[in-house]
């Protein structure tokens, strides 16, 4: 229950920092295209759920609301509607939706995660340091005995590099295969542990969920048939023949697989041997599926196929970290812990629940004492993670 993290004094400290950000950095918030056709949504500190179906005519109106309310999270629809405030959904009159992608660091299965994941009891908020080999199912809160915990991660540089690698791969697919212009692809750090990619190309806005799902399948390497690279199954169990595709192996997935298997249009016999070495048609089918998924991009299919989603708004703060959803024009040089860490430097006194290490704005914090005074951006980060409380 994340809303339990935000209680009493924590809320007032975090809200103050968020409000200050929205007051000072209103230019960092990107105006969405056709703003009047978008649905907006907000979450508030300490409150479950989201307030949706809102509409703003101008950035001025939105900025004023952000400073007044200092919401925990701000969302804007990828969809365009004739009447964005109307309910139920179908009465909004859907006009189209931007194509969006979500790469979430927690879905990448990075081996380093257990070493920087803290358990926070959902009942009393007691935080325990990372325990590499402990099973989550055996969790028991040392303070209240509760069996359930939230696991919060302070992403390390390997995690961020893992997400960047996926984002780069996605951009490559979008440019080379899907034929998008570089200028239509906008990459953002999500504000916590991943990247969002927004596509600004009118041709894609009318695509229905099924078409988006097909595109997700392509990008994530799901559903590749052996026939696509020239294998034909014969009627007899596990036997096959090879007829390399007339249209060649030079592009798209065929190229990727051909390069991986080191085959070309003259390699029918070699391909046959590869299949046999892998244990025949059926076994190779499993292997090809694994290969393709490994080479594909790990995107959240739900996000891309949802044409009514409210998605975190660029330039706004993420309540899981206090970092901002920030545009990255160059993934190589982008450092989310510097470029997206935009809260103030004023001092805040906090009680840290468990020894913790982090690096923000190029400053390292290695806090082992219970009480500590630290800059707002670091204090808010730890409070948002549930690892500290305001004194």
């Amino acid at each position: 229950m994340r809303e339990n993290l935000f209680a009493g004094k924590n809320i007032s400290v975090i809200k103050k920092a968020f409000r200050e950000y929205y007051f000072n950095q209103s230019k960092a918030i990107e105006e969405p295209l056709k703003m009047e056709q978008r649905e907006f949504g907000f979450a508030h500190f300490g409150q479950a759920g989201m307030l949706r179906h809102l509409s703003f005519k101008s950035m001025k109106e939105l900025d004023a609301m952000l400073v007044r309310e200092a919401p925990s999270d701000v969302y804007c629809s990828n969809a365009y509607y004739r009447i964005p405030t109307q309910q139920p959904m179908h009465e909004k009159q859907w006009l189209g939706a931007d194509l969006i992608f979500d790469i979430d660091g927690k879905d990448l299965g990075m081996p380093c995660v257990p070493s920087h994941s803290y358990s926070v009891c959902i009942n009393c908020g007691y935080a325990s340091p990372p325990e590499k080999h402990k099973e989550r199912s055996s969790y028991s809160c040392p303070s209240c005995g509760c069996k359930k915990a939230d696991y919060v991660s302070i992403p390390c540089s390997k995690c961020i590099d893992g997400s960047k690698k996926e984002a780069r791969r996605l951009v490559e697919f979008l440019l080379e295969d899907i034929g998008l212009e570089h200028s239509a692809i906008h990459v953002y750090f999500s504000g916590n542990n991943g990247f969002h990619v927004h596509i600004n190309d009118d041709a894609f806005i009318s695509l229905d969920p099924q078409a988006r799902s097909d595109l997700v399948g392509y990008l994530s390497g799901t559903g590749l048939l052996l026939e696509s690279i020239g294998l034909r199954k014969t009627n007899t169990e596990d036997l096959f023949s090879i007829k390399l595709p007339k249209s060649g192996l030079a592009f798209g997935w065929r190229r990727r697989i051909a390069e991986k298997l080191k085959i070309d249009m003259t390699s029918a016999i070699k391909l046959k041997n590869i299949v046999n070495q892998n244990g025949g048609y059926n076994a190779f089918k499993v292997e090809l599926d694994r290969l393709a998924r490994d080479m594909g991009v790990r995107i959240d299919p739900q996000v891309t196929t949802d044409v009514h989603r409210v998605f975190r708004m660029p330039g706004t703060l993420n309540s899981k970290s206090g970092l901002s959803k920030t545009k990255s024009s160059d993934l190589n040089s982008f450092d989310p812990f510097v470029d997206a860490c935009l809260l103030g430097d004023g001092k805040v006194s906090v009680k840290v629940k468990t020894p913790v290490k982090l690096k923000l704005k190029r400053n390292s914090f290695n806090v082992s004492k219970e009480s500590a005074e630290m800059p707002t951006y670091a204090a808010v980060y730890l409070m948002c993670k549930g690892l500290a409380e305001a004194n």
Partner: protein
């Protein structure tokens, strides 16, 4: 466009114009020498409703007229399934001819006439590949059409894709617009207002109607004999008390609703979930059933969608399925 082309593609506006120019009038259909055209139209409908293609092209003037009369008869039969089958078969008929026309690589000029027609009609721009051997369409145009086809080979990942284009041969290119052709013909019939029909047409329409009615009476419902592997897997996870992702819960609930399980029973299936709350679960199941909220009844996610969400645990028995709901069903 030549008259022979109009016989192949009689749904084009040019075919109507051709008839107008020839001063054709409805009253002529009561003439005894027109009976064979009405018979031919009836034959065309019967062949096509039975799933075959009527590919007669003997005399194009007659074929254009046959098409027009068959539209009138189908409208008069007024059975939805007959109209759908007829429209699809007519689309497949045009698809066959169009494929042949596109294959004539030596006749570049003719080929460009056809690609132009389909660009005008269906907003599908068909280009010839750099080496002249294939056609190419924009990824976006491909997705908008082929993502609704069920066969795995049509998934974008199984196509040659490069630089914003999908490369296709003539058959594949034309297959892309089959559904739109069918919709065009379907809409033509739906939009027609019937004049007082000549007796010859009316009696043939009545005959066909009586013939088709028993075929399209409500079919026996199907019984579920076994759960598909994706549902079995979700139930196993749930019964172990492990956390099942939201998308898997939606799949499980919509599946159970689709096979007619009562809401009470479905709610109890989620009892072992670590975060089980009966009130919330009931609301969510009722929401999916269309009883709450937007009153939209949610259908079971397709196998494609489940594959993308890593919720598919297909076995050999799933081979031809496109939705888990088809698994283990047999006609009573």
């Amino acid at each position: 466009m030549a008259g022979s082309d109009l016989a192949k593609y009689p749904f084009l506006n040019e075919a109507g114009a051709y008839l107008r120019e020839s001063n054709f009038g409805w009253e002529e259909l009561d003439r005894p020498d027109m009976k064979h055209i009405i018979d031919r139209a009836a034959e065309r409908i019967e062949i096509e409703v039975n799933g075959k293609i009527y590919d007669n092209l003997e005399r194009y003037e007659i074929e254009i007229l046959t098409f027009l009369i068959s539209l009138v008869i189908v409208k008069s039969i007024s059975i939805e399934q007959v109209l759908r089958k007829f429209a699809l078969a007519e689309a497949r008929r045009a698809e066959k001819f169009l494929t042949e026309d596109l294959r004539k690589q030596s006749e570049i000029k003719r080929r460009s006439v056809f690609t132009k027609i389909f660009e005008d009609l269906f907003k599908l721009r068909i280009l010839v590949s750099e080496d002249q051997r294939l056609f190419k369409v924009r990824v976006i145009d491909y997705l908008a059409r082929a993502s609704h086809f069920n066969e795995q080979e049509w998934k974008l990942i199984n196509r040659l894709v490069h630089n914003g284009y999908v490369y296709l041969d003539a058959d594949e290119t034309v297959r892309l617009i089959r559904n739109e052709l069918a919709v065009l013909i379907y809409d033509k019939v739906r939009a027609m207002t019937l004049p007082t029909l000549p007796q010859g047409i009316k009696s043939r329409a009545d005959e066909l109607r009586l013939k088709f009615i028993p075929r399209y009476e409500r079919r026996a419902s199907a019984a579920v004999t076994d759960y598909p592997p994706c549902i079995k897997h979700a139930l196993e996870v749930m019964n172990r008390g492990d956390n099942l992702p939201h998308s898997a819960r939606v799949m499980l609930a919509t599946y159970m609703l689709a096979i007619g399980k009562p809401v009470d029973e479905i709610v109890l299936m989620f009892e072992n979930a670590p975060d089980f709350n009966e009130k919330i679960t009931r609301y969510q199941v009722e929401h999916l059933a269309g009883m709450k909220g937007s009153h939209t009844k949610y259908s079971v996610p397709s196998c494609d969608k489940l594959r993308n969400e890593n919720l598919c645990f297909a076995t050999a028995e799933c081979d031809t399925l496109i939705n888990p709901i088809q698994f283990g069903r047999k006609k009573k």
